[in-house]
Symmetry: none
Subunit: 209 residues, 4 copies
């Protein structure tokens, strides 16, 4: 069916346009301060049309955030899975994370700092959904770490804590970059992050780095 296919494609295209406009708006003004009318106008549609693609404002918001996060997680996973070596996986994890943030600074500015979970005014059900997505990402990191533990390069027993720690370091550095007017290269800090995560900050008396 050629026709059905083209319709499907057009539908997805329009949907994407709306999502992109929504991202701009929400990022700039937040959830409540952004009106459906503005998004519609910005995307070049009538208000009612938005409701053919999304159930309502909240659905639009959550769809936008969820899909963007999904994209980020996908990119990260893809990059990580392309590596064999555990240390390289960690490196890919951090650098891909940073790369995504550099390329999506607006979105991240209003969202990433929330640990992927703060939606003070959005329904709890949706909040859960986003926490879950974040926890999925944590689990993914945990698996990498577990692999490293099996290989004898990471200390055993604390994989989940390490995952949160690594994620925390990454987010900390990202936050710095985001509020700091995006100075310098974020990806350039990959080595710094992995270094802290792997070897800590202490001066190693026996084995200078």
């Amino acid at each position: 069916m050629e026709k059905a296919k083209r319709k499907e494609k057009e539908f997805l295209f329009r949907r994407q346009e709306i999502l992109e406009e929504a991202e701009r708006m929400f990022a700039a003004k937040g959830f409540h301060a952004t009106t459906m009318a503005e998004i519609a106008q910005g995307a070049g549609f009538a208000i009612g049309t938005l409701y053919q693609f999304f159930q309502g404002k909240e659905d639009l918001y959550v769809s936008m955030v969820t899909e963007k996060l999904q994209l980020m997680y996908q990119e990260i996973r893809g990059a990580v899975q392309a590596r064999e070596d555990t240390l390289q996986k960690v490196d890919a994890l951090v650098s891909t994370y940073f790369l995504f943030v550099e390329n999506n600074a607006d979105f991240c500015t209003f969202f990433i700092r929330s640990d992927g979970a703060t939606l003070p005014d959005v329904s709890n059900a949706l909040r859960e959904q986003m926490i879950e997505a974040y926890l999925g990402q944590i689990q993914f990191i945990e698996e990498i770490i577990n692999k490293g533990i099996e290989d004898g390069i990471f200390q055993p027993g604390k994989a989940r804590d390490y995952a949160f720690a690594l994620s925390g370091i990454i987010r900390g550095i990202i936050f710095d970059w985001l509020v700091g007017a995006h100075q310098g290269s974020l990806t350039g800090k990959t080595g710094l992050v992995t270094d802290i995560f792997l070897r800590g900050v202490l001066v190693d008396q026996n084995n200078k780095r």
Copy 2:
């Protein structure tokens, strides 16, 4: 003036009651979903009375958050400054942070995960203020680290990055605890956090820990 003093005291007392009710409400329902009427009712005052203590809803919200954060930062600083040794300062930083979170889980649940900075719907001016508070905290950590660098125990040159990293690790572990139904002791993870921060996660070939 005895009288003026008592008035002052009563004023502060009332103000505090409002703040506490506001904290409960905002933590439970978020900024927008909480109404001034609810807070007034909960605190046992008339709506109009709230406006004698705070300029408006936003002011009330920000005051609550700011003062709570201030309290947290104060506690942390107090504990840190009570130690001489840099490593003990780091330890105090982490454990006091954790202690505060354990004692203020509700507040932290809705707020700390925001890196102390996400207020999607609150005016930018206020957001800046909160980011600033967070950056103040970062700077405080940075100073500890600089001290450690001077003492030759931390690697030089990256104090600010280290500060964000440490803050990130702490927040990561806190997040885990908050969404994980507060299982186990958070303060009990102090050693874990400092360990990661100081020595990293790698198995040290030359110098087993």
Copy 3:
């Protein structure tokens, strides 16, 4: 032209299907709460198709009601005209009315109690139309009564009032039956109604019935 005829027939058939679905919907949910989309879906047509048969929602509503009423009036007139005797005409009027209600309880439940005239939200022009239909029915009853007056069996001078009175009695009894969960036979009350209308409720001292 065979073809044109078949088309005509199909057109009428489709139209009828839409009307029947509309009747179900409107009876169940009222005018405003029923959407064109629902009717279209229920009737198995596309929304746009409805507009080939009816000018709009209001037209559809009014057509449905009007035609249903027309049907009722037709049945009643047919039955009445089949009788010669005036008293038998009255009897036929009442019993056919009741019969129709029994067979169209859903429609009547939402409509008949309105005296065939209450459409609080439908345009005045249409309201007039329906009042007129009702008045037509009254006039028809009036004519029966006038015949009876000519025959010397009804008291003269009040034919129109009598028509409203008879119609009122019928509607009163119907209302009772409709809200009373349709208990018992409505047609079985024909004698009761005609009795009240003809002889009143007083015990006749001279002439026991």
Copy 4:
């Protein structure tokens, strides 16, 4: 408490003003076509003020109708109970009904014809409430009739049917008057109505009236 009393009085006064404006509006344009803004404006209040007296539009509508009906029923009951004799009670019932309609033609025009029960678009719960009110009135009439049966002046066994019949006759005549541009006196038709109800329309061969 003088003050509380005056407040109460003022509250009731404002509420009544809103109800009266609502009655005008709803009677003129129907439920859906009337906006809260119009009522507020007409009553000289801000929109929000309406919500201090009524939960919402529907509540306002139902309150208006319910209270008006209550008033009508009260007047009727009062007049009926002031009479001793059953036939005089019937007379008072009809004439007071008519009097109320004459004095509240607007309200009745849009409502009475509905048998006190048609609210096509208002929630079912409320519809039930109004049907109940109507049935209460029927029961009241039924009791009068039962008294007459005990006294041996009405034919036994059909009190409820008679009540609906009498109510039906009254409504039928009212409808005529309402749609007929209010020609002539409605109360003047009291005798006509009681005559039909009591003695029917047949010419009585033995006992001329």
